[in-house]
Symmetry: C2
């Protein structure tokens, strides 16, 4: 009942350019024949409204989701109901891949706002990978990137204080926006303070307090969900990011932020 499919033909034509599959094949330099083949496997476009569930933990692994617009949070939970948000996902990202070996989703995915996705059947996806071997390699790269991202989050959760966590978080968002050619210094958050706090392992009140402190110190300007980064150099100093380790997003984008 939560799911609301909008099954339109004609989605495929634009899908490869606009959704995650593009990212999957572009770096490998696939020719247009491959690209066309790839498009055939994009089964349907769907739209989820804020709070709607894409999939639940334990559900059979039947679809991979490529986000076209909007944003999604994923989380897991303890047996007594505490949640840990494990990621916020934006357009261009692929969701559900880590269900590969258990054949069931290991986390729950919920739309943060109205979100449009391409829903790709796993069976089709596997067939696709058989026909275009480099797809497998691309998947390995994407998962390797996710592992690194998670490891940096572990560093954050295990070793950083609340200020460092928020600074790291803002910079990470900034880089992801820069990557998509949005302003890296001015953006709107699609997630609540509660979600941010949950993700970073601190209370939402602490998030509020530190946003206020950053604002007093002139590092950022925050008006509810609208954020302006005013002193990225300072944010970088506060964040104490991993040293020689790879950045959260693309290495190229890293250069945008002076060190």
């Amino acid at each position: 009942m939560a799911r609301q499919a909008t099954q339109e033909p004609g989605c495929a034509a634009i899908s490869c350019q606009s959704c995650g599959l593009y990212q999957l094949c572009l770096p490998m330099g696939l020719d247009s024949a491959d690209t066309a083949l790839l498009d055939r496997y994009v089964k349907r476009k769907r739209t989820f409204k804020r709070g709607q569930v894409l999939y639940r933990s334990g559900d059979a692994f039947t679809y991979v989701y490529a986000i076209r617009s909007g944003s999604v949070k994923t989380y897991i939970s303890t047996d007594d109901g505490r949640l840990q948000i494990t990621g916020f996902h934006v357009p261009g990202e692929l969701l559900g891949l880590n269900a590969i070996d258990e054949k069931r989703y290991s986390c729950e995915a919920v739309a943060l706002e109205t979100t449009s996705v391409c829903e790709i059947s796993v069976a089709c996806f596997e067939e696709l990978a058989r026909q275009i071997p480099s797809v497998h390699y691309q998947m390995l790269r994407m998962m390797s990137k996710e592992i690194r991202h998670n490891q940096e989050l572990m560093l954050l959760l295990g070793k950083k204080n609340a200020e460092e966590r928020l600074a790291t978080y803002l910079l990470s968002l900034s880089r992801r926006f820069a990557m998509r050619n949005y302003s890296p210094t001015q953006f709107n958050l699609s997630m609540s303070r509660g979600d941010i706090g949950n993700y970073l392992g601190i209370a939402e009140e602490t998030v509020s307090r530190i946003f206020s402190r950053f604002q007093e110190e002139g590092v950022i300007s925050s008006e509810r969900r609208h954020i302006i980064l005013k002193d990225i150099k300072r944010l970088n100093a506060i964040a104490h990011e991993p040293s020689s380790a790879a950045p959260l997003a693309l290495p190229l984008v890293q250069a945008l932020h002076s060190r």
Copy 2:
């Protein structure tokens, strides 16, 4: 100068059975021809002593390591030198795979005790994957498993208190030992209290205190690095593990621990 290679021919003969590659091909039901092919790519066996470095963060990605015996810790660090251990690795596990997309290791790997590994050249490994397509799929499975494991660690670091962290940790170890047909209730830790605390995001003093408390309460018995789990049911209750999510190790082994 830290590296001490013992280059022996004849390693290949036993390697596939004894090191991680076996785990990579076995689940796919490779025939003996494939297995033989696979063995050819095991270049050399090496031994690292306690504290020696297998690879550093930022090093070029040239080898994948399959642990034959001993144990290894991996960690990343902030720019001001704080470390976060991201994993302890035991025989049968493959190390270094998440360097795939950046072509450099994203973390540092250090032997916890005298450790024997098979060092597999990445170039050979890629050639191998080309010849046996299912190897790619196995790699995807392994990385998917690692992502899930990391997500559970994020839940632990973000939402659990010190007692829950220790209980979760002991159970995770127990399952991994059970998987390798070692006693799930009695084992020696190869890592120090400091390493455990670092991994779990708590101080080593807290680790000590809680081990003592568990002992007082009759849940475990701990004498320095020798641990006996005396009440696994209670440990499970304390740990508050992820609900419907996949277990840290194999699902089959999970059944060993009553819920």
